[in-house]
Symmetry: C4
Subunit: 209 residues, 4 copies
């Protein structure tokens, strides 16, 4: 990609990057529902037995809700982040790509947890789940660092204070998700608890946006 093309692209707004990111977030968040499995149809299942079979799938529902709202919070943060900038750079585009890639892996990590939660492999499954979010939250930190280091990409009216505020709120992610990852080896429920707690906290503190 050469100077001339770079120039052409440089002057672009961030609209199409946001549209593409929204598309990836929307597809990834919807694919989470593919993990809700219909119990294998059996001619012997009475209504009561089907209810019991569905009830036994509760880890799917917990994981579905937690992953859905976590991806939703990520989308909200992503949205808030793009409000800070008015220009993309190649570096930003690829860091953003990395965040999107890890986001598309969330349904896989979620499926791993729901399928292994009541098997001996549960601790490892939850560690992978936590680890996925460590990698995502590091991606968000990188996004922010890109904007901090390159004043040209951010809007002129974005103050250093605003950036500090965003950074402060995002700073919770990597260490707490790391704790959720390590904590999986104590109990899978430590991971689920921390991950659920985090999105409830973020949802609760984000009073008006």
């Amino acid at each position: 990609m050469d100077e001339a093309q770079k120039a052409t692209i440089e002057e672009s707004d961030t609209g199409r990057v946001e549209a593409f990111s929204d598309g990836v977030f929307a597809v990834a968040i919807t694919l989470l529902a593919l993990d809700l499995q219909v119990p294998h149809p059996s001619a012997n299942h009475s209504a009561r037995e089907l209810a019991a079979a569905l009830a036994r799938e509760w880890p799917s529902y917990v994981a579905f809700v937690t992953s859905f709202f976590t991806v939703l919070i990520m989308w909200v943060s992503h949205h808030g982040f793009f409000k800070l900038i008015h220009r993309t750079s190649a570096r930003l585009l690829f860091v953003n790509g990395y965040v999107l890639m890890m986001t598309t892996a969330v349904p896989f990590a979620t499926s791993l947890v729901t399928q292994y939660l009541r098997l001996p492999g549960a601790k490892m499954a939850c560690a992978v789940y936590g680890g996925t979010f460590v990698l995502i939250s590091l991606g968000f930190s990188l996004l922010l660092r890109t904007v901090v280091s390159d004043a040209g990409t951010r809007k002129p009216d974005v103050t250093r204070e605003t950036l500090d505020c965003v950074r402060k709120s995002w700073r919770l992610g990597p260490p707490l998700y790391a704790l959720a990852t390590v904590g999986a080896f104590v109990s899978p429920y430590v991971t689920i608890g921390i991950c659920t707690g985090l999105w409830v906290y973020w949802a609760g503190t984000a009073r008006e946006f």
Copy 2:
């Protein structure tokens, strides 16, 4: 998320929330078609036998059409709702997230019905289907309550009368879907009848929008 970031986001329009919601609705509505199953290919199937095998799948087609138009009506209502507001709030964003989450579960509930409709578990499957829409219609009520209680989010020209009209039209949802849920234990066809009736009614009364 801090004051400064909140301020940045607060001034945003509702465009990206609508784009994201449209994406989720579009993916969820298209995934309904994954429930249309190709009969297992058999070298012995004559054309006539394949036709019979496809005909036996009629519950899939009824459920597909009913779910598709129900989600379409939901999207239309969602669209109409966002016409009332010009600003999002954290609360609205999460209520909207809840509505979207339940929407992505519609293909699962639909699949449950089509796979169990002619088995003893049919009543429970239909109750889950009805229950999913109870939860969705309650989400829509919550969306409306958010806007009623927070004048700052709605457009200045939206009168209380308009809000009352929307509320009146949406009020049908929760009780009738609850009836469809309970009615499943009388017969699965009560559920399908009420759910189909509701979208036909909404489609018929929505003469110009």
Copy 3:
């Protein structure tokens, strides 16, 4: 849905309907690729044998290309159609919903053809494929009729001549797809030939749009 809400919605442009439709078209067209099946991995497959296994899947590739370009042409026509209007109506919204619903069924019909093309059920599979497009092309005719009968929805500068031109070009669809459906009982290749011929023709005549 009441008068007040109707009024609110009526004044809207067609942007969000197009965005939603684009989303459904984009997801449906991409799901066609799910029908490209990886041959079941076998430790005994040499490179040559894998090549042969892939080559045996040629009906998948033909059906994939034909369905992809047919849906693409449909999207182009849809796009062209929405250039004619500046306002939606409830009727238009639901006819559009019907077109989208049938579009999401195209991957199912395509899968039916690829799985049965070399089995005795091929004629029936191709008849279903042709029939799906009959239903879609009738939906497009209905879209046009909606605009012809309701002058309020179309842009002021759209002349009756333009409408006639669009109608003339779309008029080919229903009878030729009906022929493709009936022709399936002569030979499945009649269906594939007509369907492929139609999109090549439409692509060829649409010189500048």
Copy 4:
């Protein structure tokens, strides 16, 4: 499609083509993650054994990352390309459709590689993978040729130099992907190496866009 309709469409901007393309890219890139398979749950799997089972899946992860960033680079190039034009033509629309069609086949080609990488069919699987990108990069060349030959579609301020720059950067694609295809028969790792090298190179040289 007749003159009048053509005229109507001709005056359109490229917005909806970009939106549709973004949708297809977003869905296709997200479907890559469906290839990340959860190891078949086994009650005997200890955490350690699950970790080993996941580790054995490393070809999936390499292929996932390579395909994801390759599609991302393709999307970036596509984005850059549409910055050059302000009008679409039928020819451009169909060449674009071809590029999108091949893009939706990338998850299939990726799946082929991950499932066969450690089986005797690996060379053929990698040749198909490389071949898919040969076909895509030829599509991009065709896109460019369309704009070069039709001055009416490109923006007035796009100079021949800009076009030459884009062409120079894209020219690497076809021969190197062809090499990756042929090289598969030497070793599958030649294919993976070249394909990974190419997106790293394109990402590295695209400093600001």
